[in-house]
C-alpha cells in the first residue's frame, strides 16, 4: 500500500504542473496563504456553531438558525480549503504523502466528517425541543466538543507538516518510518 502511494506521489511529482507550482515562489505562497486565511471563514463559522451548542456564543439565538445560516459560508470556506489543500499536496506530493502529520490530519478529517454527519442528524431529529435553550442537550454538546477537538488537532497537524522532524530522509525511528509510509530504497523525498 505504501509503495503504491509512493509511486503515485512520484508520478504526480513528475508532472510539469506540480514542478511549476512548487517552484513558483509567489503562486505557491498565494495558495498556501489562501489555505491558511480561509480558516477564518470555515473554522470561524464552525467554531461559532459549536460554541452556540455549548452555550458560549449567541446563546439567545435559536441553535438551528445559527447552524443553518452559518453553514453556507462555512461550506464555501471548506471548499476553498479543499481546493487549495489539494493544490498544496499536488505541489509537494512525495514529502506530503509520507508526512506523519499529514496522515494523522487525513484520518482526523474523516473523523470530522463522520462527526459532522452524526451531529447534524442528531440535531435535526431533536432541535425542535431545545432550539431556544441556551445550551444544547448533552449528546449534541458532545458532538460540538468533538468537533472543536478534532478540528483543533487538524490545525496543529497541518502546521506540523511544515516541519521536517519525521521526514523519511531524516527520521531514525523505524516505527515512525512505517507509519509515515517510508519505502525501502526510495530515491525521491
Amino acid at each position: 500500500m505504501n509503495e503504491l502511494i509512493y509511486n503515485l506521489a512520484v508520478w504526480l511529482d513528475d508532472t510539469e504542473w506540480s514542478r511549476m507550482l512548487h517552484e513558483s515562489y509567489y503562486m505557491y505562497n498565494w495558495v498556501e496563504s489562501t489555505h491558511v486565511l480561509t480558516l477564518m471563514v470555515s473554522l470561524g463559522m464552525l467554531f461559532l456553531i459549536d460554541l452556540r451548542m455549548l452555550g458560549l456564543a449567541l446563546p439567545d439565538v435559536p441553535a438551528s438558525r445559527i447552524a443553518e445560516r452559518l453553514n453556507v459560508p462555512m461550506l464555501i470556506g471548506f471548499a476553498v480549503m479543499f481546493i487549495t489543500g489539494t493544490l498544496l499536496f499536488y505541489a509537494v506530493p512525495v514529502r506530503t504523502s509520507q508526512s506523519l502529520w499529514f496522515r494523522i490530519k487525513m484520518g482526523l478529517l474523516v473523523a470530522c466528517a463522520v462527526n459532522a454527519f452524526l451531529f447534524h442528524k442528531r440535531m435535526n431529529e431533536s432541535v425542535a425541543t431545545w432550539d431556544i435553550e441556551p445550551r444544547a442537550p448533552s449528546r449534541i454538546r458532545l458532538g460540538a466538543m468533538l468537533s472543536l477537538t478534532f478540528w483543533s488537532i487538524v490545525v496543529v497537524c497541518g502546521r506540523f507538516i511544515a516541519y521536517d522532524w519525521f521526514d523519511c530522509d531524516t527520521s531514525p525511528n523505524t516505527l515512525i518510518d512505517i507509519v509515515s509510509g517510508c519505502v525501502d530504497g526510495q530515491t525521491r523525498f
Partner: protein, 194 residues
C-alpha cells in the same frame, strides 16, 4: 458642517489622528531615530523565557503557531459574522445588535489568544522580525484593527442601529473586514519573509 462632523464622530477622529501619527512616525524621520534603539528590546525579548523556549523547542513554537491560527479562526469568524450581518449577507433574520453584541465576547477571546501566542512567537524570533518590514506593517495593521474595533466600531454600534446612517454602518463593516484581513495577511507573509 465641520462642527457637526467634529461633534458626531469624536472617537473616529481621534483614531484617525492616532493612526496618522503612527504613519508619520513609521515613514517620517522619527521612526529612523527610534528604530535603532528598539534593537536592544528585541534582543532582550529573545533572552526571556518565551524567547528561550521558542528558540530551543521547535515543537513548542510550532504548537503555539497552531494555537495562534485557532485564535485567528475564532477572531475571523466573529468579524465575518458581525460584519457580514452589518452588510446584510449572513444571519439576516437575527437582529444586528444581537449578532454584534454576542460575538464581541468571543472576538475578545480570539484576540486574546492571538495576542498571547503572538507575543510568545515574537520572542522566539525577535531579532529576525525586527528587520522585517512586513512585521512592522502587521503591528501597524493590528494597532489600527484594535483601535478601530474598540474605539470606533463598538461605540458606534452601541447606539440604536436603526438611527444610524446605513451607509456609515456598511462602511464600518467594510473597514473592519479590510483591516482584519490586512492583519491576517501580513501575519501570514511574515512566515514567507526573511
Amino acid at each position: 458642517m465641520n462642527a457637526v462632523i467634529l461633534t458626531s464622530y469624536p472617537r473616529t477622529l481621534t483614531v484617525v489622528a492616532v493612526l496618522l501619527t503612527l504613519l508619520m512616525l513609521a515613514y517620517g524621520g522619527a521612526m529612523d531615530a527610534v528604530y535603532p534603539s528598539l534593537l536592544g528590546v528585541f534582543e532582550w525579548l529573545e533572552t526571556t523565557w518565551f524567547g528561550v523556549i521558542g528558540k530551543t523547542w521547535g515543537a513548542a513554537f510550532a504548537f503555539v503557531e497552531a494555537v495562534h491560527l485557532l485564535g485567528l479562526a475564532l477572531l475571523g469568524g466573529c468579524v465575518l459574522a458581525g460584519d457580514g450581518r452589518l452588510l446584510g449577507v449572513v444571519l439576516t433574520d437575527v437582529p444586528v445588535q444581537t449578532v454584534v453584541e454576542r460575538t464581541h465576547r468571543v472576538f475578545v477571546c480570539g484576540l486574546s489568544i492571538c495576542l498571547a501566542t503572538g507575543i510568545f512567537m515574537a520572542c522566539g524570533v525577535a531579532t529576525k522580525i525586527y528587520y522585517l518590514p512586513v512585521y512592522w506593517f502587521k503591528m501597524l495593521a493590528l494597532s489600527a484593527g484594535m483601535l478601530f474595533h474598540f474605539q470606533v466600531r463598538r461605540p458606534l454600534l452601541g447606539h440604536d442601529i436603526q438611527n444610524l446612517n446605513p451607509v456609515v454602518v456598511k462602511m464600518v463593516a467594510v473597514a473592519s473586514l479590510l483591516v482584519w484581513f490586512m492583519v491576517a495577511a501580513t501575519g501570514r507573509w511574515i512566515g514567507f519573509s526573511g
